[in-house]
Symmetry: C2
Subunit: 338 residues, 2 copies
């Protein structure tokens, strides 16, 4: 007989009732030790594994957590997945993923559909799509737990894991200033991205704090893409008096800037220092490797997942995370400061 055994089979061969088996599985404290051992022996012998679908039905909740993302950075997403796995390992939860298209006019409907059809226990939402409040609204409507990840406080702490991008950029710019840079260029991210805004504000604050000028000539618009980084860098480097350092709002754009420097025969970091954001694999693989900012993604992911499934006896998870500066060789003191 090759059919997979059910709780009934276990109960029958152990000579107890279903309910008793159920109690063993769910570690009910009120059970005679002898019974428990006997049942456990039978479970092992039969190779019984509870059916999660049946459990889900009876409990009127399931054990799937979702990951909603629309993120250009593959490494970020995968690291997040790993972090979630850290949290749900040895639980009955599984992770279902759902990439969405930010630019589709039907994203919201797609998401609603997904959540409704799958009846997920909860979802984690990655930036930039996490910035849309309508999604949180949908979750609430559908009674689906949610945790958003973002660069700023978008929601109440129990629904957020946040990095503090503004603070990170502040520290990054301070680092450049400490190295002696005074003319620091900035490549923004796209409009409508909260992370882009936070990073930009961090830049403005840092420049102001340090008493440095930052006129329009030092700021160029980017779109978080490699190509836009090239365009923006070319624009910044066209100035009569060039910046000695450029902070790009992500690594892709910093890599683009690197290409432009190469084309202009500017040596990085001797003639131009470059600072990125994200610590993507690209950052480590370009030449010279990029100094950049790293989110503690895996830790954030784990916290997000724990917040979601909230296992008993678990202290509340932090919702705020600080980024690290990853110092590599694309930043050095400026050659000659007038």
């Amino acid at each position: 007989m090759s059919k997979t055994p059910t709780i009934n089979d276990v109960a029958r061969t152990a000579g107890v009732s279903k309910k008793t088996v159920s109690r063993v599985i769910n570690r009910s404290p009120l059970l005679k030790e002898g019974t428990r051992e006997k049942v456990e022996a039978v479970i092992a012998e039969l190779g019984y594994v509870p059916n999660p679908q049946a459990r889900a039905l009876a409990l009127r909740r399931n054990f799937l957590v979702g990951l909603l993302y629309d993120n250009p950075n593959a490494q970020t997403v995968l690291n997040f997945q790993e972090g979630v796995l850290d949290a749900i390992r040895d639980t009955e939860f599984a992770l279902v993923v759902r990439p969405v298209d930010r630019h589709s006019p039907t994203v919201l409907d797609d998401i609603r559909d997904f959540l409704e059809k799958q009846r997920l226990f909860g979802v984690m939402i990655l930036p930039p799509i996490s910035e849309r409040d309508e999604i949180a609204e949908i979750c609430r409507e559908l009674k689906c737990e949610y945790v958003r990840m973002g660069s700023a406080e978008l929601d109440s702490p129990d629904h957020m894991v946040e990095s503090n991008d503004k603070e990170a950029v502040l520290r990054a710019i301070d680092h450049l200033v400490l190295q002696g840079h005074r003319r620091i260029g900035f490549i923004t991210g796209p409009d409508g991205f909260r992370s882009a805004r936070e990073r930009y504000e961090g830049f403005l604050d840092a420049m102001a704090n340090n008493g440095l000028d930052c006129n329009g000539e030092l700021i160029a618009k980017g779109e978080y893409t490699f190509e836009s980084g090239k365009r923006a860098a070319a624009e910044l480097l066209r100035a009569k008096v060039r910046p000695t350092a450029i902070f790009a709002s992500n690594d892709e754009m910093a890599a683009g800037a690197l290409h432009v420097a190469e084309e202009l025969d500017l040596h990085v970091p001797r003639d131009l220092s470059l600072f990125g954001f994200d610590d993507s694999p690209t950052a480590a693989h370009v030449w010279p490797p990029l100094t950049t900012v790293r989110w503690p993604i895996r830790a954030m992911a784990k916290a997000a997942a724990l917040k979601l499934i909230n296992p008993p006896g678990m202290e509340p998870q932090p919702h705020r995370f600080l980024s690290d500066l990853v110092l590599r060789s694309s930043v050095a003191p400026p050659r000659d400061e007038k």
Copy 2:
């Protein structure tokens, strides 16, 4: 009343039986048009969505497909996920992911546990972990459908989507030869990776076909990592008479080779041509951008998923895929050939 409606609610308010509603949902052909319309109206009105857990229980099968991976290349994994989504979009299937650790002594048990606990309908397995036959064995045991992705024929066609890495490398080396290269170095992948072996064999065959010498001095061992690429390239470039081109078994290693060239003051591609494999984001972002080989991953993923869920009326999916050569500027004719 905010409870989500069930099939019973629909049946009651539509004045029909549960079974009829079920028939409407499952598009049974034997239904009077009037009844169908009436029921559909009620479904829309109530906003009824079938409960997948209950369905899964009744049908004794669920609608989850898994993705098992242990892949160093994030972009590959994510592209695969997207491809799978292309296939399951508008079906009731969802994708659950499961990164595993190839080096853990308990991988196989972990995988078995995962499949057993979640009762997946099927799984797709990415290389390199897909190369382990024991996993296929476990799937068969647990009656879990599976499709493996790999660089060679590891299983029967209905359980495989394959790239032909040997063929791809053959074409890549031919391309180098056509450009005039004669001394071509090769950086291998790690032992035990089927992809590494295929690529290596492709190299040997290509060199033989072209009547070129390929002694040990032209071959260096790598581990698919950036650092190992640096080591291997340094070794190759230490030769009295240097290769004019190096084929690295993946992009990470090619990027490492690029760093070494930079350190040795060798200009790429003038003094040294570099060929990678994978078309990872890194390949496009380093300077100069890398000529490389690209798997049609997304198409492969879609085929894999369709093979798995095998929707009715779907012609059989191809199991064999050809890779493309992505020509960028890291390859050029050698400067001077003696």
